[in-house]
């Protein structure tokens, strides 16, 4: 695959690494018992610890630790038995302690990897450097008053997992696939709600460009992107910006950039000289975090089937292609829906590919059109299963099934009900079909002559006429066979 992008003078390769910040799914904060509920009124979920009152001390939330370990297992990563919380010191109005409690030298999770799957059936591993736990900051509100900034500490102290990748990503699409995959894993594990709009999942993107085969170039970091679309846009813009500078003989300054979502452009926030010296040191208020193999084992055994395992299972059990299986397992909703559908009738196992197609094309497009998702689909897995069974047993044709599913969608009725009510059963009676064909042949004598004279294309016309007469219910294969038989007899 050619991943290079063309500049004015040269071809360039992007080198991309992501730092994903995923909010841990947990009822309370990382070091306090305050609630983490999104959208509550400002400063309504702030404990004495979150507000950094004098003499207040952090106490680790064990559940958040378990969630991080779970996630580490899901990322095929090494879980560290010993990790340390450090203080990252800097001043900001929404950082009440004057430091963020994070993990620096000794993160809770070490090296791992995730796999992304391409449409052409190939796949690629993206290596994970580490995952560590840290506190989120509060929020500065600059738009409430013309001359004042207000601070909302509801988010202050909420647990985040920072997942750092190696610079293994080479295209904006890969970046998108990587973050989708991480999101999917987190949601399967139920360790993050994956809601990018609410900021539960956001990413900093490190990007540089180089001529193929060269050393890594100087990178810039684009901060705080909260949608896959913006991530791709920002990477594209930033890569072009860097290429233009390099091709005109300039050099890249190692900057931290911000992405403007309305202009689609990046702009520098601070350069290397202005970078903070965070003065990391172990937080003396907290003991090192020690997790035994036994505890890790316990957490491991509680982990549900993950997308890659499920994907392999689907390929193995249902003989699906790698790509189909990866689409099905891209999120838990879809794989759950698929499982429920295919298990609703023992027959369906033999028609897995049809099940996949019906979910990922017909159903998805209906859901999309109506702004719904699988969780609130009017068509239940059982009902979809029933519909597919009707197709596979030749009770209705695929074409008619498309109308049926729309009816199911809007009325909530079952496939069986609709087919019965409307009499949509496929005509499979040989005699009945033969009668219709005789009619068509009789009514179109001229055309028959032309056909017999060698105008093969007219076969379609006869099929169409016959279908019309049966209101589309004739079994297409039988119709074809009998039609050919009869026409050939005339010869």
């Amino acid at each position: 695959m050619n991943n290079l992008i063309k500049g004015e003078k040269y071809d360039w390769e992007m080198v991309i690494g992501l730092e994903i910040h995923a909010q841990v799914k947990s009822n309370s904060k990382l070091f306090s018992s305050s609630s983490t509920k999104f959208g509550s009124s400002p400063n309504s979920q702030v404990s004495l610890v979150d507000a950094a009152m004098p003499g207040m001390l952090p106490v680790i939330n064990k559940y958040c630790v378990e969630q991080a370990v779970k996630t580490g297992v899901g990322l095929n990563a090494k879980i560290n038995n010993y990790s340390v919380f450090d203080r990252k010191n800097y001043f900001y109005a929404d950082l009440p302690q004057g430091y963020q409690i994070s993990q620096y030298k000794y993160p809770i999770v070490g090296e791992g990897k995730v796999t992304i799957d391409f449409k052409d059936g190939t796949s690629k591993d993206i290596r994970i450097v580490r995952l560590h736990l840290e506190q989120d900051a509060g929020k500065s509100l600059h738009d409430q008053n013309p001359s004042k900034t207000y601070v909302d500490l509801n988010r202050s102290g909420v647990a985040l997992m920072e997942i750092v990748s190696e610079p293994d990503i080479r295209t904006p699409d890969e970046a998108g696939m990587y973050i989708s995959k991480i999101r999917s894993i987190l949601m399967y594990l139920d360790t993050c709600d994956g809601n990018m709009q609410e900021g539960s999942l956001r990413a900093d993107v490190n990007i540089s460009v180089r001529k193929p085969g060269d050393e890594y170039g100087t990178r810039c970091e684009i901060k705080n992107l909260n949608s896959i679309k913006f991530i791709k846009q920002a990477i594209n813009y930033e890569a072009k910006r860097q290429i233009e500078i390099l091709e005109s003989g300039g050099s890249i300054e190692q900057n931290t950039m911000l992405f403007n979502t309305s202009t689609g452009k990046t702009r520098p926030m601070r350069n290397k000289e202005e970078a903070h010296d965070y003065r990391y040191f172990p937080d003396p208020d907290l003991l090192p975090l020690e997790i035994s193999e036994e505890e890790i084992g316990k957490i491991k055994s509680s982990i549900p089937e993950l997308p890659d395992e499920l994907k392999d299972k689907f390929i193995e059990t249902y003989k699906l292609s790698n790509y189909d299986a990866s689409v099905l397992t891209a999120d838990k909703q879809t794989s759950d829906y698929f499982n429920e559908t295919i298990n609703s009738d023992p027959e369906l196992k033999n028609h897995a590919k049809i099940v996949v197609n019906w979910i990922t094309s017909e159903l998805f497009s209906l859901l999309n059109k109506n702004n719904l998702d699988l969780n609130n689909s009017p068509v239940s897995p059982e009902n979809l299963g029933q519909l597919i069974k009707l197709i596979s047993t030749n009770e209705i044709s695929g074409k008619i099934a498309k109308d049926v599913v729309e009816d199911m969608f809007s009325t909530g009725k079952t496939a069986r009900q609709i087919v019965d009510e409307k009499g949509l059963q496929q005509v499979t009676d040989q005699g009945e079909i033969a009668k219709v064909i005789d009619e068509v042949i009789a009514d179109n004598a001229k055309m028959v002559e032309q056909y017999l004279a060698g105008k093969d294309k007219l076969l379609g016309f006869f099929v169409g006429q016959a279908m019309k007469l049966t209101k589309g219910k004739a079994n297409p294969k039988m119709l074809n066979d009998i039609l050919k038989q009869k026409l050939n007899k005339k010869n």
Binding site: L57, Q97, G98
Partner: protein, 474 residues
């Protein structure tokens, strides 16, 4: 007038020889007579009277019911402001009660006031307070003396008999050194014995609450009241707290005392060496085996301490930024200016000095050479003690290198001031319990202190040795 002990007062209250009101009015009177000592940052007679009223209507039995206690103004208290002796917290009223003070309230004690200290507990003379110096009650009329620090207000409160006990905190000697200067008993227990929850932090890995009292028995009663596990402090220890007072045993026959040679320091006044030798002789007479021990890394303790403590302080004090509570400068045009002016105007010189030192030693490029190395040395110092305690049951040293010095003597020489902690800092770095008891006087008739150090969580042995020495000295 002879000072009444906590133990005796509890008996007198129990037998109704004296009422809670009579007792506390006696103390209120003395507090008002001694205002010139500047012992309290916050004192309100009304508040004390209110507490007396409440206790008079309370029929439950409580261990310290009606006992007047002074609280170092580093402990957050609901009923009184908490300043840490800093302008930056000048009008701060906590909505919460520290673990230690809550325990004392639960036992029925009366808080007479919040005592003065060095700003954020940084100092050895109670002369860096935003609220002015505390004067040592033992001062001669024309020569005011320092009470030591940082818990100088609490030590002075006990010495002047303004309370029957006081809380302190000790980071590098802030209980033991002022106890020595004021001629009272001061105990810093093992790190982790008393929860730090609700104590404004100076250096988290060293800060430990403790007690000042008139004698060792009283200290043993009070320490038991404030000790105990607290799940809100991750460094709080889950250990059983013995009844120190009931278990007091001054029979030291067969025990071994360690005498560290490294604590004989050139330039230590003769009187200090003499009381140390006296203490050893007394112990020997009681059948204690004398064992000369070595704590080879002692000489690195002070520099190690003055890297670790400021490093932690520089981070702990970052929360005082003018955003959420406390003092905020009026002159602010930007966020950075708010920080700069608030902190420039809100902190005193010594606090700023330590924030700068701490920031420096944690900076990129210096971290390994200073902070990381200091942590390694700290481990060596702790190992020295662990080794020594294989050969002895407790260690005896002088508490401080001098008696109380004149108030303004070391004001402008921080290094000299830091040397005050030379005997107390090593045990702080190792997290060990230590007590200072009055033992002998210098040529000016000022009290000197002997320090007894014990194994981790072996406060009982420390108390036993202390009470034994105390009784033989009396």
């Amino acid at each position: 007038m002879p000072k009444s002990s906590l133990k005796q007062t509890l008996k007198d209250l129990d037998t109704k020889k004296i009422s809670i009101r009579e007792l506390n009015q006696d103390y209120l009177k003395r507090i008002k007579e001694n205002e010139n000592l500047n012992v309290f940052i916050h004192f309100s007679e009304d508040n004390v009277l209110k507490q007396i009223d409440n206790l008079e209507n309370d029929n439950s039995a409580k261990k310290l019911k009606g006992i007047p206690i002074a609280i170092k103004d580093l402990f957050c208290t609901k009923s009184m402001p908490t300043t840490a002796a800093s302008k930056i917290l000048e009008n701060f009223n906590p909505t919460y009660e520290s673990f230690v003070t809550q325990k004392l309230l639960d036992e029925g004690s009366i808080f007479v006031g919040k005592t003065n200290l060095d700003e954020f507990a940084m100092g050895s003379a109670t002369n860096t307070s935003f609220f002015g110096n505390t004067v040592n009650p033992l001062s001669k009329e024309n020569e005011p003396l320092a009470p030591g620090g940082s818990s100088g207000g609490s030590a002075a409160a006990v010495a002047a008999d303004l309370c029957l006990g006081a809380t302190g905190t000790d980071t590098g000697g802030s209980i033991r050194q002022p106890a020595s200067f004021c001629g009272v008993v001061g105990i810093k227990p093992t790190y982790g014995l008393c929860s730090r929850w609700g104590i404004a932090a100076f250096a988290s890995s060293l800060d430990q609450a403790g007690i000042f009292s008139h004698n060792v028995e009283d200290a043993s009663i009070l320490l038991q009241s404030i000790a105990g596990f607290d799940q809100r402090d991750s460094t709080s220890a889950k250990v059983d707290i013995p009844n120190y007072f009931e278990n007091l045993d001054d029979d030291l026959n067969g025990k071994t005392v360690g005498i560290p040679k490294e604590y004989s320091i050139d330039g230590t006044p003769m009187e200090i060496s003499e009381i140390w030798e006296d203490a050893i002789k007394v112990l020997e007479k009681k059948g204690v085996k004398i064992k000369n021990i070595s704590l080879p890394h002692t000489k690195y303790a002070l520099p190690t301490y003055y890297i670790i403590a400021p490093a932690e302080a520089s981070s702990n004090l970052a929360r005082y930024d003018g955003v959420k509570y406390g003092f905020r400068s009026e002159e602010i045009d930007s966020l950075d200016e708010m920080y700069e002016n608030t902190r420039a105007q809100g902190f005193g010189r010594e606090v700023k000095r330590r924030i700068l030192i701490g920031t420096y030693v944690l900076s990129a490029g210096y971290y390994d050479a200073y902070y990381l190395k200091a942590q390694k040395v700290r481990k060596l110092i702790a190992d020295d003690f662990n080794k020594a305690f294989k050969e002895c049951d407790f260690i005896v040293t002088p508490t401080a290198p001098s008696a109380a010095f004149p108030l303004n003597e070391k004001q402008n020489d921080p290094i000299k001031m830091y040397l005050n902690d030379v005997f107390t800092v090593p045990a702080s770095l190792a997290g060990l319990p230590g007590i200072s008891i009055p033992f002998g006087k210098d040529k000016n008739n000022l009290p000197l202190g002997i320090q007894i150090l014990g194994k981790h969580f072996d406060e009982q042995q420390v108390f036993n040795a202390a009470v034994s020495l105390e009784r033989s000295y009396e």
